[in-house]
Every structure is written in structure tokens, then in C-alpha cells.
């Protein structure tokens, strides 16, 4: 068990959260994860890290500064991600009806403990 596990399990206990992961932004690989059934951690990690990195690079090119929080809303789910100074990004996959405001707050708290 990695030291990240309690933090990830706390995130996954939030209502509507299907998966929480710590991923490497550059490699798109899972560092640790807490997944509910039917969640493919490798796939989520690769795609979420890629989206986050693209948003970070695009925002920097557009002179908007560093990206902290990202939220993608789709018909049947949401992906939220926060990153800080390191290569690590915390990713949450949630139901469309999940309280994204609360998830955002918890993600920033988790990021603080990560850094």
C-alpha cells in the first residue's frame, strides 16, 4: 500500500465518485488508485493525464498561467483533476450528479497533502 491510499480512499468515499487516482502527468501512468467496479484505471490515467497536460500547455501558450483545476463534464460522467508543482495529478471520475464543488475542495485538500 502506498502512502497515497488513505487519501484516495477518502476521495472515492465521496458520493458519486467512481474512481480516484494519482497519475504521472508526463507518463500517463497510474501511481496509485482507488477504483469502484468497472473502472479501467490505466485508461483513465492515460487519458486524464493527457487532457490535463494539454490544458496546461495550451493555457501557458495562451499566457493564462499554470492550470490548477480541470473539470470535464460529459453526458454520463465527470472527470476532475488537480495538479501542482510536481508531475503528479490527482484525478477523480464521478457521476454527472455528484457534488463537483465538494469534490473540487477535497481535491485541493488532497493536493496540499501531496505536496
Amino acid at each position: 500500500m502506498t502512502p497515497f491510499r488513505p487519501m484516495l480512499e477518502a476521495l472515492t468515499r465521496q458520493r458519486g465518485v467512481r474512481a480516484s487516482l494519482i497519475v504521472s502527468e508526463n507518463d500517463g501512468l497510474v501511481v496509485d488508485s482507488s477504483l469502484r467496479f468497472d473502472q479501467d484505471g490505466d485508461r483513465v490515467a492515460a487519458l486524464a493525464a493527457s487532457m490535463y497536460r494539454k490544458a496546461r500547455l495550451s493555457a501557458r501558450a495562451a499566457r493564462l498561467g499554470a492550470v490548477a483545476f480541470l473539470q470535464l463534464d460529459a453526458e454520463r460522467g465527470r472527470v476532475c483533476a488537480v495538479g501542482g508543482r510536481s508531475d503528479l495529478v490527482i484525478v477523480v471520475v464521478a457521476d454527472p450528479a455528484a457534488n463537483v464543488g465538494l469534490i473540487r475542495v477535497e481535491l485541493f485538500k488532497a493536493l496540499e497533502s501531496l505536496e
Partner: protein, 161 residues
């Protein structure tokens, strides 16, 4: 991206793979080093060299795995300052192949591995059955096949043998 194949059924899965994974180069070859398809290469000499080195590298890591772990290592990943490579086998009804993928910062190892799984699935689904009685490969045949394959990939007349 420029894609050329010796076997036509390979083209669609390989094209999807390089597009999705945003690979810079891709090479599908027999474990013997014979090329099956290439994407992104512009000179045949590069293809020949890459095929030889990829086959050797795959054989080396497979053998090393057997020595230290009792099983052949499957995949290899190397990182350079700008580019990375991923080398892994693909199994189909036509036999085993090796796929060499070169990518840069536009992609990631996670994405390449994810799309590589789809490539394996797509190739396995697309591969026609093996011909009934394959000829044994001898050195002369290999040279002939190699020239024929390179001719198919780069559109020139096969060298006289």
C-alpha cells in the same frame, strides 16, 4: 502520416494506432527482422536498420527475462531527451510480430500502451488465417523476402537475385 505495408490487412489498424497514439514512427516486423509495415519512415535504410535493431533488442530482452525471471520480458520502454520508444510483441493468427513505436511529448507511455492494446486486438481480428503449409525459411528466401518487402514499402523494383 505516410504508411506502407507489405500485407494490406495491417494498414487500417496501424493507421488508427499511429493517429490515436500520436506516434512519430511505427514499425511492424517479424521476429526475424523482416518488415511488415512502417509508418513515418522516409528512407528504406532507416527501416532496415530499425528492423534489425528492434528484432535484436526484442530477442535480447526476451532471453534476459528468461534468465532472470524464468519468462521472456514482453515489452520494452526507453526514454531519450526528446523521444521515447516502446517495443512489444503482437500475436495474431498469422503468427507473432513485433511492434516498435517511437513517440515524443505529444503522447505518453500510458497512451501508447493503451492504444497498443487496441492495435493488438485489431490486428488479431483483421489477420487472415495462415496459409496451409508454409515453406521453411532459408537464408536465400529471407534475402528475397526482405528485398520484396522493402520494394513494396518504398515503391521500387525488387533487386535482382
Amino acid at each position: 502520416m505516410n504508411i506502407a505495408t507489405v500485407e494490406p490487412w495491417v494498414e487500417a489498424p496501424l493507421r488508427r494506432f499511429v493517429d490515436d497514439a500520436r506516434a512519430r514512427l511505427a514499425l511492424l516486423l517479424h521476429p526475424s527482422g523482416q518488415v511488415v509495415a512502417q509508418a513515418g519512415f522516409t528512407r528504406e535504410v532507416d527501416v532496415m536498420t530499425a528492423c534489425a535493431l528492434a528484432a535484436a533488442s526484442h530477442a535480447t530482452s526476451g532471453e534476459l527475462g528468461k534468465r532472470v525471471d524464468g519468462h521472456a520480458f514482453r515489452s520494452l520502454h526507453y526514454t531519450g531527451p526528446d523521444r521515447q520508444l516502446f517495443l512489444s510483441p503482437v500475436n495474431t493468427a498469422r503468427g507473432a510480430y513485433i511492434c516498435l513505436t517511437v513517440f515524443n511529448g505529444e503522447s505518453s507511455l500510458g497512451l501508447v500502451r493503451m492504444y497498443f492494446e487496441e492495435l493488438c486486438h485489431d490486428l488479431a481480428a483483421a489477420a487472415p488465417p495462415l496459409p496451409a503449409a508454409p515453406r521453411p525459411t532459408i537464408a536465400a528466401d529471407f534475402e528475397l523476402d526482405l528485398n520484396r518487402n522493402l520494394a513494396a514499402l518504398f515503391g521500387r523494383e525488387p533487386a535482382a537475385t
